[in-house]
Symmetry: C2
Subunit: 248 residues, 2 copies
DNA sequence: CGGGGGGTTGATCTCCTTCAATCAACGTGG
DNA sequence: CCACGTTGATTGAAGGAGATCAACCCCCCG
């Protein structure tokens, strides 16, 4: 009985941990009620594929919890990650059924899903959703462009520092913490996934992480817990002059 | 008198060469009339800056003609292009005044501009514009992600071939021509601009273009006219299995 | 004629890849 | 409880794709 109540609570939009950042962020209570009726949750295990490139996707979704990756794969096996889905990010493109990339969970993932057609109808009839989705897409475009600078012009060391800075900032933003003390966060990516993110080999990733550790820029607990004692110093190492302003 | 008439014709939305692809593509005649009242044209010479990163931008715009680039610059001078604005592309982000990148004309450019506030009001009150802008932003995001694969995983030769394929396809799309015959198009970018696009040096760009020329994949007339005798072969050289379906 | 911007080509160097060995953590079955 | 295989990570040695440094060309324009 009590577990049932907990499950029910967790499934109410009002209690949703990504409520203030997701595609539904601008919705009023009556609009939320409509979403509430058509939504459903799906869970994925680490390593599990959510969709493969080319598959029909009959739903769109918000990431409630966990981390998933979008990636391109070339015929000869070269792979480039092109998106990192963190909690509150949106998955799927309204107006297109075929998935353009592989989407894979890298940690336990919970999605809040909507079937495509009802969602598209809602999108057409509910301006707040449309506006929020435009805003999120513009933010993603900004992120993609920052990423392009990383891929095109940064050294291996700068690439690693940049990745850590991005995830640290996102994590701080979601948990509404500041960036001035020591930061501790989970980085649920294998060396190979980081290499795919950064356009490197996993060996280079490993070497550079060791180097950053040696130089005291980061510390590592267990397998994937990172501590950043001085965020400003990490930013400098990433080649970003950006003073890492407050929470975005 | 006749030049006046010509100028006036050119400024009517009904005659606009980018009418069917720009932000205004979904507008009805009455909505167009509103846009028509608040729009104004601006011209830029090759090499001229349209805005610098950090500048206040009091307008948004559609590219009517010409080519402009968006680029990131790091303090030490490294530069990465993050956007290539071709005719019908949209410049500026509703809801944000400060430009995040340098925008520079690389050929004579004509913009169709709208002051920000009236445009944002229109965006809120005119769903077709909102929807079209979302669609265009999603397309740009797709393009950015294809670009990320190019930057992260392709060889110098593949990068050059990819750039040529992208521009050739866009050009064919705008002019509604097929991709099967020999393609001839202008590539109004210096070697340095191409290097900034591809995350290479201008020397490497020059060498690879020479190599593609030697191998018969392209021919070059004058300074910046490219001929692609066999588009499929170019695609293969770009590392894209994509059969380069018809016009997007 | 001189100068400058854009382009090409050559020689050398270097950062990252490639190939390979080793290690630690973990689970599994004998 | 221990051999064994597996998966992820680290480290080393060698090689190569592209960067860097530099010379030179072409063409346009003052």
């Amino acid at each position: 009985m009590s577990t049932f109540t907990l499950a029910e609570d967790r499934m109410k939009c009002g209690n949703c941990p990504i409520r203030h950042r997701a595609v539904c962020a601008r919705c009023e209570t009556d609009e939320l009620a409509v979403l509430e009726r058509i939504k459903y949750y799906r869970d994925f295990a680490p390593g599990q594929a959510i969709v493969w490139a080319g598959d029909e996707m009959d739903f769109v979704a918000s990431v409630v919890d966990g981390v998933a990756t979008l990636s391109h794969t070339m015929e000869d096996g070269r792979r480039q990650m092109v998106g990192l889905l963190l909690p509150s990010d949106f998955l799927g493109r309204p107006g297109r059924a075929a998935a353009p990339y592989d989407v894979v969970a890298t940690s336990p993932v919970t999605l809040c899903c909507f079937r495509r057609e009802p969602f598209e109808d809602l999108l057409a009839s509910t301006p707040p959703i449309n506006r929020r989705l435009l805003e999120m897409t513009l933010d993603e475009l900004d992120a993609a462009r920052e990423w392009m600078l990383i891929l095109g012009r940064k050294t291996a060391r700068e690439k690693i520092a940049s990745l850590l800075a991005i995830v640290a900032r996102r994590d701080a933003s979601l948990r509404l913490t500041k960036l001035d003390g020591p930061l501790v966060f989970a980085l649920p990516l294998t060396r190979e996934a980081m290499a795919d993110y950064l356009g490197l080999t996993l060996e280079t990733v490993s070497r550079q992480i060791s180097a950053l550790k040696r130089d005291g820029l980061i510390r590592i607990q267990g397998s994937r817990q990172i501590t950043v004692p001085d965020f400003q110093r990490l930013m400098a190492e990433a080649g970003d002059d950006n003073d890492g302003g407050l929470i975005s």
